[in-house]
């Protein structure tokens, strides 16, 4: 089913693509206890599902990513965020694999999220939307996989928040997946990361246009708050070296300081641009809900303080390839290492690699031979 949607400062309408309504008969119980049924999930697919349905790969997107992993974004018109990885004869070869890229619930690109219309009130959910967790996102994806009639996924691949989903797949549905590739991710969201998220949420909620979450009724948009949230978060996706290399202390279109509060430095106007373009394509309430879901993620806590307990019941066929990036300070290699050791301690078949990088956390979204070779080798030689 194809649907249209609208949000952002101008509430412009755009085409979403494929959306499916799930849990039509049996409601899906969320971690919070709330139950949802007949909810939409948006997705894109690439390639063809083979006869025995054994060639499917699920792609899980990051925090503010979306289902357009390898196709043009309907709002920005830009190529998919993993276009360099997914496609015919590419690393994740769509001539060979059937790639499903699913939006997450809580998102704003056509899936069940706070900007969707609540059938009971005929208004967008806003803050009456239920709290969600990473597990809930994965349970919704599982319903999508069931819809395709797929018994076992060849692989689940995801970076950052998508990596958390990939890990949760192995825990929730160990019989349904062969290979897990979590990258630039961790077994939990660190206190420092929670702190950054909270700054973002407070910025949104401090914006008078937020209207206690009901901005859509007034046809307003908490642009400034959401942009500040994005700017803060964006700093954590880069690295000091990357910022130094890209901008240094260069000034933006001027030879001297302005001695007022207009942006002077290139790095400032870059962040402004990041904030501005984000507001065009993302919903503020969605940002609140999803950042919370990520903050709640903690496998150690879920398994009584012992991370390896999380992986005790894995089937012996399941294989992991953990990828971390050397200068990622949001999800540092040390956390991937702890995860690796927990998996190894359970005797799980785990591979792990730390790729040398200079682009910080965002390295998983940047084309590199090391990344492509690692994924290709792991996907194709099992």
């Amino acid at each position: 089913m194809k649907v249209k949607s609208s949000f952002g400062p101008q509430y412009k309408e755009f085409e979403i693509g494929d959306v499916i309504f799930l849990a039509k008969e049996k409601p899906l119980k969320l971690t919070s206890g709330a139950e949802i049924k007949n909810f939409p999930l948006a997705y894109q697919t690439y390639g063809t599902l083979n006869a025995d349905k054994s060639n499917a790969i699920l792609i899980c997107h990051a925090l503010t990513g979306d289902q357009y992993a390898a196709s043009k974004h309907p709002i920005t018109g830009k190529d998919g965020w993993w276009s360099f990885l997914i496609g015919p004869n590419k690393t994740i070869d769509t001539e060979k694999f059937f790639v499903i890229s699913s939006n997450i619930i809580g998102g704003c690109m056509g899936s069940f999220g706070p900007k969707e219309i609540d059938p009971e009130t005929n208004q967008p959910y806003g803050l009456s939307f239920p709290a969600i967790t990473i597990s809930d996102m994965v349970k919704a994806q599982n319903l999508l996989i069931e819809h395709f009639g797929i018994q076992k996924l060849h692989a689940v691949i995801g970076g950052s928040t998508g990596g958390m989903q990939a890990l949760s797949w192995s825990i929730l549905y160990p019989q349904k997946v062969k290979l897990i590739i979590p990258m630039a991710t961790s077994y939990r969201h660190s206190p420092q990361n929670v702190a950054f998220h909270e700054v973002g949420r407070q910025a949104i909620m401090a914006d008078p246009n937020w209207c206690e979450g009901k901005y859509f009724l007034e046809k307003k948009c908490p642009e400034k708050g959401l942009a500040v949230a994005r700017m803060t978060a964006h700093i954590t996706y880069l690295s000091e070296v990357a910022l130094q290399k890209k901008f240094g202390r260069e000034l933006q279109n001027k030879n001297d300081f302005s001695f007022n509060f207009d942006p002077d430095f290139q790095v400032e106007s870059y962040l402004h641009h990041q904030g501005y373009s984000f507001v065009q394509r993302f919903d503020a309430n969605s940002y609140l809900y999803i950042t919370k879901a990520v903050d709640y993620f903690d496998l150690e806590k879920d398994f009584s303080g012992k991370l390896s307990n999380a992986f005790n019941n894995l089937s012996p066929e399941i294989k992991f390839c953990l990828i971390s990036f050397s200068d990622d300070w949001l999800f540092p290699p040390s956390e991937a290492k702890k995860l690796t050791h927990a998996l190894a301690a359970c005797g799980v078949n785990v591979s792990s690699i730390t790729i040398e990088s200079t682009a910080g956390h965002d390295s998983f979204l940047i084309e590199s031979n090391a990344l492509k070779n690692t994924i290709k080798g792991f996907l194709n030689n099992q």
């Binding site: 359970c346 690692t374 030689n381």
Partner: protein
């Protein structure tokens, strides 16, 4: 034993190194593979580009895992379908559970570790058997080098000057055996090699081995394990030789195949001095 002596004579001077190219595998790695039972679970510590694990997967159908410090090598291993963890043998072995593997292999690395004793203990904590290959510092060339030149030996086998060598804990074959004794580990098999990949037999005379072998490969285990397993390994080793030959991996001169040389090194399996 007479037969052994004859073969030994033939083996010396026999260059079976050619064979390495055909297998595309380092000869010491090949010998290690003879020591491994099919379908066993193997951890290769410092697995490099995964040559040994790939070879073992093909010839012995093992469930192999690697530990390797270099990113590039990990990536290469992964592209061969080998499971590898990027990590440091000195720090990361502690995370593996007890008795998780049948074999833990440390190939030509022990001399570069900070704490060889701890690594050996860790290997035999996580695996039933450990296979350790090491360069023999007491080789005659090194002894003569030190005696006549008065400086630390530099050679093909040991290509580094003293101030830049990664090899911080050199030992001799004799030293290694002493350490095993001290740790109460029993040596189930030992094989001696020269750098030209000749197998050597010393009729159990350890002192001679310690003088002429450039490399030693040891299969060790904790003393409390049943020693009968050793016989199976010898048997399996013969099988392996046979199989390899059938597979067309023929040595340059099969008639002088050094099974007996290897067996004699087994005969020389002295549990004490």
């Amino acid at each position: 034993m007479q037969n052994t002596a004859q073969n030994f004579g033939q083996n010396i001077g026999e260059n079976i190194g050619e064979n390495i190219v055909r297998h595309n595998i380092r000869y010491d790695l090949e010998i290690i593979s003879y020591l491994i039972k099919p379908k066993s679970k193997v951890l290769d510590i410092g697995c490099g580009n995964g040559e040994l694990l790939e070879f073992l997967k093909k010839t012995k159908n093992v469930d192999g895992r690697g530990l390797e410090i270099s990113q590039k090598s990990v990536s290469t291993s992964l592209s061969k379908g080998i499971s590898v963890i990027q990590g440091d043998a000195e720090r990361d072995l502690t995370y593996y559970p007890n008795n998780n593997f049948d074999y833990a292999i440390l190939s030509q690395t022990i001399q570069a570790t900070h704490n060889p004793k701890e690594i050996l203990e860790e290997m035999l904590r996580i695996a039933k058997y450990a296979i350790v290959s090491l360069p023999n510092f007491a080789h005659i060339k090194n002894r003569l080098y030190l005696l006549f030149k008065g400086s630390m030996p530099v050679s093909k086998t040991l290509p580094f000057k003293w101030y830049e060598t990664p090899n911080i804990h050199f030992c001799s074959i004799e030293d290694f055996e002493k350490l095993c004794k001290e740790l109460n580990f029993s040596i189930e098999n030992k094989t001696f090699l020269t750098s030209k990949h000749r197998l050597m037999s010393f009729f159990g005379y350890k002192k001679i081995a310690n003088l002429f072998a450039e490399y030693g490969i040891f299969l060790i285990t904790k003393n409390e394990l049943a020693p009968t397993f050793q016989e199976e390994i010898i048997f399996d080793k013969r099988q392996s030789f046979g199989k390899n030959m059938e597979m067309g991996l023929v040595l340059s001169n099969p008639s002088s195949l050094s099974i007996s040389a290897m067996d004699s090194s087994l005969c020389g399996n002295d549990k004490g001095e």
